[in-house]
C-alpha cells in the first residue's frame, strides 16, 4: 500500500492524511490553504490534521537522526517491542498539556508550544557548541528547503556538506561525512548537537507550513 497510496483501498480520511504527510516530507513549500481545505473537505478537522502532522514531524526527525548516526534497525518483533517501550516512556513523561494549541516563536513563525519550548532548549542550553552556531545550523537546514532564514555565521564547508545531506536526503549520509567533521575537530558531543539541531530544523519545515495555514 505504501508503494501506491493514491490507489490503495483505504478510507478517504487516511488517504488525505497520507497526502498531507507526503507534502510535509517531500515538498513542504507546496503546502497552502488549498491543501488544508482539501483535507477538511474529506472530514479532517484541525485536531486530526495537527496530530497527523505530529507523526510527520516525529518521523521526519527520527529518520534523519537514524540515518546520520546509522542506528541499528529493529527487526520483526523488536519493532513491536520498541514501539511499546516508546509508548510507555511517553506516558511516563506526559507533562501538563499546553493550554494553547499554537504560539508564535521568533520571526513570527507558528509552532506547537511544546515544539517551541523544545526548540528553544536545543538552541540555548549550554553545550559543546555555541548557541550561535546551533542557530546557524537550524537556519541553514531550513534554507535548503527554500525558506529564507538568516544565518548568523558562515558555516564551514565540511559542515555545509553534512547539513545539506541531513536536510534533503539523510539516507545518503556516509561514514566519510561524519569522519570529515571529526577530522575538522568536531568532538562526538559537537557532532551530536549539530545533528540533533539540524534534524529538528529540517523536520520543522513541514510542521511549520501546516501550522501556518491552519492558524496563520
Amino acid at each position: 500500500m505504501l508503494e501506491d497510496w493514491t490507489r490503495a483501498d483505504i478510507p478517504r480520511r487516511t488517504r488525505a492524511a497520507l497526502k498531507l504527510l507526503e507534502y510535509m516530507t517531500v515538498h513542504p513549500r507546496d503546502i497552502d490553504s488549498a491543501l488544508i481545505d482539501d483535507l477538511k473537505e474529506v472530514g479532517l478537522d484541525n485536531l486530526a490534521i495537527q496530530e497527523a502532522a505530529n507523526v510527520g514531524f516525529h518521523y521526519n526527525l527520527i529518520t534523519r537522526v537514524a540515518d546520520a548516526f546509522d542506528f541499528p534497525v529493529p527487526q520483526g518483533v523488536q519493532q513491536e517491542r520498541l514501539a511499546r517501550m516508546l509508548n510507555f516512556i511517553g506516558k511516563l513523561l506526559r507533562g501538563s498539556s499546553a493550554e494553547e494549541i499554537w504560539i508564535r516563536g521568533d520571526g513570527g513563525v507558528i509552532r506547537p508550544p511544546e515544539v517551541e519550548k523544545g526548540r528553544e532548549q536545543l538552541l540555548e542550553v549550554e553545550g559543546a557548541t555555541d548557541p550561535l552556531l546551533r542557530r546557524s545550523v537550524e537556519a541553514y537546514v531550513i534554507s535548503q528547503w527554500g525558506w529564507d532564514r538568516q544565518e548568523s555565521l558562515d558555516l564551514p564547508a565540511e559542515l555545509k556538506i553534512f547539513l545539506k545531506k541531513l536536510s534533503l536526503h539523510a539516507y545518503r549520509i556516509l561514514d566519510e561525512d561524519i569522519e570529515a567533521l571529526q577530522l575538522a575537530g568536531y568532538s562526538d558531543d559537537m557532532v551530536y548537537e549539530i545533528t540533533i539541531v539540524g534534524a529538528v530544523g529540517a523536520a520543522l519545515v513541514g510542521l511549520e507550513a501546516v501550522y501556518q495555514y491552519l492558524y496563520g
Partner: protein, 81 residues
C-alpha cells in the same frame, strides 16, 4: 554507529540502567532512547512527550493509523528505520 552513543559522560546512572533493560527487553539497543539519553539535558521534557504522543493514536487516529503514517514517512525518506 558513527559516533559512540553508548559512551556518554552526561547520561545519569539510572538511564544507563534503563538502556540495559531496554536492550534486554527489545532484543537490540533502541536508537531513540539511546540518542536522547546521550545528552538528556538537551531535550525539553514536554518536547519528548509531544513527539512520542502521536504514536499512541490521537486526534481521532487509531494506533494502527499512526503506525501507518510513521512507516509512510520513513519510506518517503528512504529510511529503513
Amino acid at each position: 554507529m558513527r559516533i559512540d552513543l553508548l559512551r556518554s559522560e552526561h547520561r545519569p546512572w539510572y538511564m544507563s540502567f534503563g538502556l540495559k533493560f531496554a536492550q534486554w527487553r527489545v532484543g537490540a539497543l533502541p536508537g531513540p532512547p539511546l540518542t536522547i539519553s546521550y545528552k538528556p539535558g538537551f531535550f525539553q521534557r514536554d518536547f519528548i512527550s509531544y513527539i512520542i504522543r502521536a504514536m499512541a493514536g490521537s486526534g481521532g487516529w487509531s494506533k494502527g493509523e499512526a503506525e501507518l503514517f510513521a512507516s509512510f514517512v520513513s519510506k518517503q525518506n528512504s529510511c529503513q528505520f
